[in-house]
């Protein structure tokens, strides 16, 4: 996919999406006073009706390893009725606590939502013929549409 990074419309998309993601972060932080992981986990389900992980492969770092890389897909159904399937990767470090395995470190890697969404919106608007001039700034009616799409997308991540 070729893409002109000088395009001001793309940057407009990014600026609006970033600003909106900060608003969401503030909301999450306010509910984070008790247990961070618990709060993040609850936040993840805010817009989600159901989801299903598929774990394709797990790669251990040597025999009887405690460090792993994993990858798979996750299928979502949002409360809005929309469905999405997203590929993911992760790094996990396992710790045995009084004979029970727990995770001491867990990082999930996904395609950056902001970039992905900005590209998606950029191409959908172009394909519909609503914008023909690359220098066109985002009109107010598009701003609202981008915000709505952000709300759905950012809650997933």
């Amino acid at each position: 996919m070729s893409f002109n990074m000088d395009n001001s419309y793309f940057y407009d998309c990014l600026i609006i999406i970033r600003a909106f993601s900060y608003e969401i972060d503030v909301d999450i932080t306010l509910t984070n006073y008790h247990l961070e992981i618990l709060a993040t986990r609850k936040g993840m389900w805010d817009a989600v009706h159901s989801r299903e992980h598929h774990i394709e492969k797990i790669f251990p770092f040597g025999p009887n390893a405690t460090e792993f890389m994993l990858f798979g897909t996750v299928a979502y159904e949002l409360k809005s009725g929309k469905r999405a399937e997203i590929p993911w990767g992760a790094r996990a470090t396992m710790v045995k606590e009084s004979d029970v395995w727990k995770m001491g470190f867990y990082q999930v890697y996904l395609v950056r939502a902001v970039t992905f969404l900005a590209l998606k919106i950029y191409y959908s608007v172009h394909a519909s013929g609503e914008i023909t001039n690359h220098a066109t700034r985002i009109l107010p009616q598009y701003r609202m549409r981008i915000r709505q799409q952000c709300r759905t997308c950012l809650y997933i991540y």
């Binding site: 972060d25 999450i28 006073y33 008790h34 247990l35 961070e36 992981i37 618990l38 709060a39 993040t40 986990r41 609850k42 993840m44 389900w45 989600v48 159901s50 989801r51 299903e52 992980h53 598929h54 774990i55 394709e56 492969k57 797990i58 790669f59 251990p60 040597g62 025999p63 009887n64 390893a65 405690t66 792993f68 994993l70 798979g72 996990a92 396992m94 710790v95 045995k96 606590e97 395995w101 727990k102 995770m103 001491g104 470190f105 867990y106 990082q107 999930v108 890697y109 996904l110 950056r112 939502a113 991540y157």
Partner: protein, 78 residues
Amino acid sequence: MASLYQSKFPPDTPIDGGVAKYFEKFYKISDTPNAHQTYAESFTKSATMIMASKISNGYDRKLVEGFISRIHMLYKNS
């Protein structure tokens, strides 16, 4: 019937059976809507979890607060 959450491991590398079971259970819990507490307890109390750009430190918030108060003491003494 194989569980939906079973994964493939390298055939020639020995794995602790408990770890394989852990991952199977973890993603099952992850997909269970109201299992928030069980999910959090899958981590150690001082765990770091990073979801895309969202970083969560610790299952036990007290550890973080203790650390912050130590920083305050240093600031006052200097």
